[in-house]
Amino acid sequence: MSPKTLYDKIWDAHVAHEADDGTCLLYIDRHLVHEVTSPQAFEGLRMTDRTVRAPDKTIAVPDHNVPTTLDRANAATMTEDSRIQVEALDKNAKDFGIHYYPVSDVRQGIVHIVGPEQGWTLPGMTVVCGDSHTATHGAFGSLAHGIGTSEVEHVLATQTLIQKKSKNMKVEITGKLRPGVTAKDITMSVIGATGTAGGTGYVIEYCGEAIRDLSMEGRMTVCNMAIEGGARAGLIAPDEKTFEYCMGRPHAPKGAQWEAALNWWKTLYSDDDAHWDKVITLKGEDIAPVVTWGTSPEDVLPITANVPSPSDFKGGKVEAAQRSLDYMGLTAGTPLNEVEIDTVFIGSCTNGRIEDLRAAAAILKGKKIKDGLRAMVVPGSGLVRAQAEEEGLADIFKEAGFEWRLAGCSMCLAMNPDQLSPGERCAATSNRNFEGRQGRGGRTHLMSPAMAAAAAVTGRLTDVREMM
């Protein structure tokens, strides 16, 4: 047998039909659904008198629109259009008999945090969701990617996706990370190196000692932003950490099925002589704590750098960089650690897990946020929130001056009331710094939870290593 990559192996195990031209029907093991990209898909099913083919493999949770304030049980906290979307999901979940975690359920949270937490996401699976950050689930060695609403409808009706195979790309992070450097810094540094289109047409497998050393939470952060590098999906081969994370989760297999699953999962790695279409290697020790300065996730620099000049770039990036600086209200040459912020947002499917909250709390313990700053922590799920309360992290955040919210996507995409005002500058642990992403005219700097916590204390972009 010819050597295969991890992606090749998962792909081959899920082809339900292959046409002569290589167009495949890829069988989908888990379909995650949220309120924003699904209503039109369910409407499509109703109009054509179709049903959900595999309701037991379909899991829905409202996350994008939901308020994260403590009074959200009060319907008045939602705008009418948001409420209609959430109610539509309530109804669609019931009518089509799919698994559902309503807003009132403690297990509710961001779909990409709930999936792994509940054991829906397992190694070797195909996972899709009408959300680009589905890449997150690749941390388990599952092939996971975002789809559009037409494809959501297609998967609901047929449990398959029409796909052609992507190319294989290996991103290796060798050696150890230095203190203060996290999974977020790895994934942002990779995008900084490859650009936001560097992964287009590829599925990335992240590997190397620095990746193996990461916890499952860290691996999810790395894979989450594979889409920001343009890749269809990001993968990490499963290992003992993966199996340990999955074991005992509500929807993970048990007993003899667990043993059978484990036997297969242990075969899920790229063969030594597998073919790679593209290889990127970064040294772990070269990665610094980073922030974004512009309006594209590729606008990444170490916190010790200065705001770049458009003339540092070539081609279309010159105009784009100028536009970014104008939008961000930044002047070339300014040290990044002198840029003052108004808001701090800790949360999102990138960094809303327990380890992220621990990292931020470790910096904030016994400290206060800078006067006048607005700061919030939005846990990724109700269970993350509960665990953080149990570990005393919530008290650290509250004593420091952070708002302690309920779970949801919140200010990552600002569909709910959590938004930036025009000109407001935010240190954010989310994944996109696009123009208007966190609110019209809002200015986003992406970074790790520890870096966001450090910025909250000083009121400016800050090198977390100074506070360690």
Partner: protein
């Protein structure tokens, strides 16, 4: 789905790279439960000021581009969110063809599900069509999917590549789900085997 066969129309130039789906349709318009009516909010934050007045400098607000049916854009068009509201808004505005050096993967696929032809051309050919588009209403660009050609207003003919299956579906306005359901036996067979070999799924 609407068919796409040929198009002769005005092309609007948007040379900016990395135009993301948040720019194409900002999140506040994702709260709809319908597919229609998003054209008025296409490029909303670039197109309107805080008081909802049109920003005259924005390309689609200029008199010569208000009826544009083609968009010539910079590289990595449609990056970011998977929101299909982006192609819905583009199509609802009346644009059914985008020409760029490259697209983000999910957006590219979403176009084909909505009667929009996203054409990939090398940067220098996009630059040529960008110049053509900058001539405004006097320069109509012709696109023929059957022959996979673009004819500029000066008569230059460029050819482009497109996946044969995607082309077939777009030219005939075919419903993907209907096509897949014709292969239901294959899905049934796969499912039966997978249930045996991976019963935990």
């Amino acid at each position: 789905m609407n068919k796409f066969t040929t198009l002769s129309g005005i092309a609007a130039p948007m040379p900016l790279i990395n135009i993301d789906t948040d720019m194409i349709i900002p999140k506040q318009f994702l709260k709809t439960i319908k597919r229609s009516g998003l054209g008025v909010n296409l490029f909303d934050e670039m197109r309107y000021d805080d008081d909802r007045n049109e920003i005259p400098d924005f390309v689609l607000n200029k008199p010569q581009y208000r009826e544009a049916q083609i968009l010539v854009a910079g590289d990595n068009f449609g990056c970011g969110s998977s929101r299909e509201h982006a192609p819905w808004a583009i199509a609802d505005f009346g644009i059914t063809c985008v020409i760029a050096p490259g697209y983000a993967d999910i957006f590219y696929n979403n176009c084909f599900k909505n009667g929009i032809l996203p054409i990939v051309l090398p940067q220098e050919q996009v630059d040529l069509l960008m110049k053509d588009a900058e001539k405004g209403a006097n320069a109509r660009i012709e696109v023929d999917l059957e022959s996979q050609t673009i004819t500029s207003s000066d008569g230059d003919v460029l050819t482009f590549e497109v996946d044969p299956f995607k082309k077939h579906c777009l030219m005939n306005g075919l419903d993907d789900i209907g096509l897949t359901m014709e292969k239901e036996k294959s899905i049934d067979a796969f499912e039966a085997t997978a249930t045996q070999s991976r019963p935990w799924v």
